[in-house]
């Protein structure tokens, strides 16, 4: 059994909140990520799904070293990424890249596409100009663009094409893991499928792993092998994608499925039972964080936080119902 490419163990990220400028008031903590465990294997896509405030953005920032964890470890290729320096840090940066949601602000407007895609190579390698150009052409073709576009500027491209350029840049340096943060949400519907198919094709060809962060269940389920459902900084359920769609166990996951838009007018979904909104991460509910909104809440849920455990093969849930 190969080792996981990326592994998060009990990762926490608390942000301090200062109240009041002058008086010494007690500091609060925004518990953005509170005990997250998951792994991503080589060549697979792990989907991360949740609504605003669930911590998926913070999790991606932790993986990208834009923030450091308050507690817990993140391992990449077996090595702890905290405190990476010098050569090792550069290697991590070379092997882990990101594609963001907005295609219009992720490409430097005054750089040619070829230079944008080549930049990671320039930073990490010593390749000659010809070698760079060759690699750029190679990667552009991989994402379905003509190598000739390298001399054009970003504003000459549509949203979907820009995302392809962003993906090309992410792949330039033989990346092993790409964090995709809502990569198709800002694209037109007819283009989304193009990009999704392209991403899947690239995974088959190159064996790169994806951490696919999204809010649309159908999209995430389609491209992911496994899905982790997040709520208020914690993972409440993690399972194989098809298994999760067939048998969602956690009440929140079930709510997400009920809330998901139908694919056909004949699909009659039950009315959404959960009410209210996601509480603030500043003062999360005691015990199981979902209990105030949970239709199956029991007295135990308010007192004791459930531990995520395996309930079916490769299917873990954090809920007292199981």
């Amino acid at each position: 059994m190969p080792a996981p490419l990326l592994e998060l163990r009990n990762v926490q990220k608390y942000f301090p909140v200062s109240t009041g400028a002058l008086l010494r008031r007690k500091l609060g903590w925004v518990k953005a990520v509170d005990g997250v465990d998951f792994a991503v294997w080589p060549g697979e896509t792990l989907g991360l799904i949740g609504e605003s405030g669930c911590g998926k953005t913070t999790t991606s920032k932790l993986i990208l070293l834009q923030e450091t964890p308050t507690a817990g470890t993140i391992r990449f290729g077996g090595e702890d990424i905290a405190g990476l320096q010098g050569q090792q840090l550069m290697r991590y940066r070379r092997e882990v890249q990101v594609v963001f949601q907005d295609p219009y602000s992720s490409l430097s407007p005054r750089m040619r596409v070829g230079d944008i895609v080549a930049e990671p190579l320039e930073i990490h390698t010593d390749l000659s100009r010809e070698a760079l150009q060759e690699r750029v052409a190679e990667v552009l073709e991989l994402v379905g663009l003509q190598p000739e576009v390298a001399r054009l500027f970003p504003h000459e491209f549509s949203g979907g094409q820009r995302q392809r350029i962003a993906i090309a840049r992410a792949l330039a340096t033989h990346t092993r893991l790409i964090v995709l943060d809502e990569p198709v949400s800002a694209l037109d519907v007819s283009i989304r499928a193009q990009i999704m198919n392209q991403l899947e094709h690239l995974q088959h060809t190159l064996g790169v792993s994806y951490l696919f962060i999204g809010h649309d269940l159908a999209t995430v389920a389609h491209i992911s092998h496994r899905i982790a459902v997040m709520y208020l900084g914690q993972i409440v359920e993690l399972a194989d994608s098809l298994e999760l769609c067939a048998k969602p166990l956690h009440p929140y996951t079930q709510a997400l499925f009920t809330a998901a838009l139908p694919a056909h007018p004949d699909e009659r979904h039950a009315r959404l039972i959960i009410t209210g909104e996601v509480p603030s991460a500043l003062d999360p509910p005691s015990g199981c964080r979902f209990h105030p909104r949970c239709p199956h809440a029991m007295p135990q849920c308010a007192q004791e936080a459930p531990v995520r455990k395996e309930v079916a093969p490769q299917h873990t849930v954090a809920c007292h119902l199981y």
Binding site: Q97, V98, F100, S108, R110, M111
Partner: protein, 271 residues
């Protein structure tokens, strides 16, 4: 394109001064009288088209060479100011922290100095010469760049493509040179074209006060100063022509700067 219609002739004249000007601007015209009026007035003649000044030097020639001085000082002074200001603005905005604080406090302190007075002070200290003036004006006007550019960099810094470069492992130097600088150049250029006019007026003021470009080198400002006393007796051509020159060039640069601002800002362009 009105601004260009005004500026291009001025630039050409300034460049070709040696060939266009009928006389040496620092020497009196042989055989001419002092304070001759322009040719279309009584007492004027064709050999001094716009008249002569108190040393019977040709006003037209002095005007032409003065254009060169004004434009050179204006442009290079702006370049110096822009370079200092943009560099400091970028460093303050991108590096943040104490670098930002230090630079901003320096900027604030510098702004507290009254510009022209400070320029005069410096000019009297280092002695007048064209290049000294250029540097002095650069030192006076850099602050407006620093403030504006810093603000832009603060917002640029959060753009995704900058973050992406950082995530990809780019060094700070690389991010500044490849991502930040090219994207603030628009603002710098707009500011520059708007500043040229101000610098030209500043130079004219310094020359007017006698601490600018030293005589007998012609400068529009000193021409204004020399001719001022003769206004009372009606010898208007000594001041009106250089004054018109300043007016037209500054107007043109302001219009150009405004046009550039709209042209270069993609959001305003479609209005």
């Amino acid at each position: 394109m009105l601004p260009l219609a005004i500026l291009v002739p001025f630039i050409l004249i300034a460049l070709g001064a040696d060939f266009i000007a009928p006389y040496d601007p620092t020497e009196p015209i042989p055989g001419a009288k002092i304070f001759e009026p322009p040719f279309w007035m009584q007492g004027g003649s064709m050999h001094a088209l716009l008249g002569t000044d108190f040393q019977s030097r040709d006003v037209l020639s002095r005007l032409i060479f003065g254009a060169r001085v004004s434009l050179i000082v204006g442009v290079t002074g702006t370049i110096v100011a822009g370079s200092i200001g943009t560099a400091l603005g970028i460093l303050a905005g991108y590096l943040g922290g104490w670098v930002d604080q230090v630079i901003m406090r320096i900027t604030d302190a510098w702004l507290a100095l009254p510009g022209l007075v400070f320029a005069i002070f410096l000019a009297t200290m280092v002695g007048p010469s064209m290049w000294n003036i250029v540097i002095i004006l650069g030192l006076v006007f850099w602050t407006r760049y620093a403030r504006v550019i810093r603000g832009e960099v603060l917002s640029l810094r959060e753009r995704e493509y900058v973050k992406l470069a950082e995530i990809a492992g780019a060094s700070r130097t690389r991010v500044i040179l490849r991502h930040i600088l090219p994207n603030v150049m628009n603002s710098t250029m707009v500011l520059a074209s708007l500043t040229i006019g101000v610098v030209i007026i500043a130079e004219a003021s310094l020359s007017f006060l006698g601490v600018g470009v030293p005589p007998p080198e012609p400068a529009w400002g000193s021409m204004l100063s020399d001719g001022r006393s003769m206004l009372m007796v009606g010898d208007w051509w000594l001041t009106v022509f250089p004054g018109l020159g300043i007016l037209l060039v500054v107007l043109a640069t302001q219009l150009l700067g405004d046009w550039l601002r709209v042209r270069l800002d993609p959001q305003l362009r479609n209005l």
